[in-house]
């Protein structure tokens, strides 16, 4: 039976692509300026000229959501890619070289998991002051720190199972060096599982960024972020719920789509029942 990804999978992929394109080309696309206040439109609900309505001071929520996607997507993508490279490497090394290296790496990674992520984050946020660029740098740094351990674990487990296979033994018998075995023999087999897992990590990072922005500790205003929009909208929740609701829905759909795509890919590459 041929495996299929299904219709919903492609809808989710299409949504993610549209969102990414919109965020990347936000400056060129014919959408409104996210900082412009439209007089007399404060707290107005969705309309034809303002698709997602206007916020407390009359700014266009739709364009703010699109510009907010820039922050979320950039931080989570960069964070995931860096974490993937570092965590993937550590995981492969740890899974391939047995005994001592493995034991030390695993112990260190486990120890790094004992500080709850958001709390560690808060401690690091104390370093945040100064301009937006420095903040983004520290945010990305923290996100990488947070996601290395989980990625390394998954990759380690996958490497461990592939390293015992006959073709690896064959390569070694032919005299291949460790580097070659790792990158030419094992990496192609491990890659699918960590690519699909990375999407789930990315969804997680979007949530963390949202939480941090919600607490007012992410990229400072006037740059719009989803979390900050949801938080600011809370003061008008009873009269103009759309100010919080719209970014919340977009964020929900984005995270859902990423999780779904990651899940499906994992099932596609690895037919056994996946957990978590």
């Amino acid at each position: 039976m041929r495996k299929r990804l299904g219709f919903v999978f492609w809808v989710a992929v299409a949504y993610l692509v549209v969102l990414a394109v919109a965020a990347v080309f936000a400056d060129v696309l014919p959408i409104k300026d996210p900082a412009e206040t439209f007089p007399g439109t404060s707290k107005q609900g969705p309309s034809l000229s303002h698709w997602f309505g206007n916020d407390g001071v009359g700014r266009d929520v739709f364009s703010r959501v699109i510009y907010g996607a820039q922050v979320s997507l950039v931080i989570s993508t960069v964070g995931t890619v860096l974490a993937l490279v570092i965590g993937g490497l550590l995981g492969m090394v740890s899974g391939y070289y047995s005994s001592r290296v493995d034991r030390w790496l695993t112990a260190t990674l486990n120890a790094s998991l004992v500080i709850p992520p958001l709390i560690l984050f808060l401690a690091l946020v104390l370093f945040l002051d100064g301009e937006a660029k420095r903040r983004i740098f520290i945010l990305v740094f923290t996100f990488v720190l947070l996601s290395i351990a989980p990625i390394a674990r998954v990759v380690r487990a996958a490497t461990l199972s592939w390293a015992g296979q006959d073709f690896v033994l064959a390569a070694k018998t032919l005299g291949a060096r460790d580097g070659r075995v790792l990158f030419r023999e094992i990496l192609p087999n491990v890659a699918p599982s960590f690519v699909s897992y990375s999407l789930i990590i990315m969804a997680g990072l979007i949530v963390v960024e949202g939480s941090v922005a919600f607490l007012g500790l992410s990229v400072p205003p006037p740059t719009p972020t989803w979390g900050d929009m949801i938080n600011k909208g809370r003061t008008n929740l009873d009269v103009a719920a759309h100010i919080s609701l719209m970014p919340a829905i977009v964020m929900f759909v984005t995270v859902l789509a990423l999780n779904f795509v990651g899940d499906k890919l994992q099932q596609y590459f690895e037919p056994r029942e996946s957990v978590l």
């Binding site: 500080i115 958001l118 808060l122 939480s211 719920a241 919340a248 995270v255």
Partner: protein
Amino acid sequence: MKQAVRDQLGRIIAAALLATIVWAWFWRPPFSWTFGVLVVIGTVGAGIADGRYALRRIAGVIPVLVGVSFVVFALMASLPGDPAINILGPAATADQIAIVRTELGLDEPFFNRYGNWLGGVLTGDLGTSIVLREDVADGISRSMTPTLQIMAYSVVIALGFAVPLGIWAGYRQGTKTDGAINNVMLGFLATPNFVLAVMLVLFLAIGGLSVAGNEIGVRVLPAARYVPLGEDVVLHFKHMLLPSLALAMGQAAVFMRLLRSDMIATLRLPFIDLARSKGLPTRRILWRHALRPSSFTLLTVVGLTVGLLIGGALIVEFIFTIPGVGAYIFLGVTQRDFIAVQGGVLVISTLYIVVLTMSDFLYLALDPRLRGREVGARA
């Protein structure tokens, strides 16, 4: 005698833990006592079940704790800016700064300061908060109660949703029911807890959306505020319901998916066929025969999620204005009160490590098959 204790270990330990919690609830001893008693029970239990393993495990925890304390302290010590200036404000004179620096011990070398702090920590002294001018240990144990309450309620709620749904979805694997349960739970997994919290407030507390003059939503629950349990039990639970729900649903999704896949594996085993051929009703097979062997992974993961819950509790405390430990650390962060922050982070990490170790021991006590062999690397 010893054999009899060994056989009943799971029940004895569970009963002892429950008794401790009830005792702590009514007697209200200092937080560290409760903590100590819980640790002692777990250790003794693990010692009876498998002494060597317990010893090794505890010996392994100590370096981790020291490492964490060092990382936290080093992090706070390397903060940019002079803490003395942060306290006094930019208008301070050099003399004043010198006095405050001596008071905080900032003139001493790094390792002396770390040693002093660690010595204080071991005797229960976390220092005095810079901003609140209050003992940090007092502040944390005061704010610990609401946080632990939220976490406990949300674990109960999450299991309340996850166990029946997980059993049912596992039993009905591959059907539409299974698919529906899975998709709904995937939805909850994708909802950040602050989004869920805002939505819950919107639809259950303040009347919801009004579309064309009709309200979609109700006003049945209070939106924010913390009422201590001792003050008014009904009000307490009313106020805690929304925060706990907001925290619980994401966990429920994780638990449910775990239990479902373990149930599927268990239901394929021969003893289920035996139970079926004896003519036992399905409900009894699922709840009495299949649930117990399927729930071990779930149990460990419940322990592991404490770390996530603490982060989530922080957000939920922020939204519902609950004076918990997350709010305490958050206040410390916004006011650059590094003594309060390092104390809070250390206490939470310690709590987490202890819970993790304890859940390992509980695992050992509950599942006799594991005794005498290493509890393997876990999720």
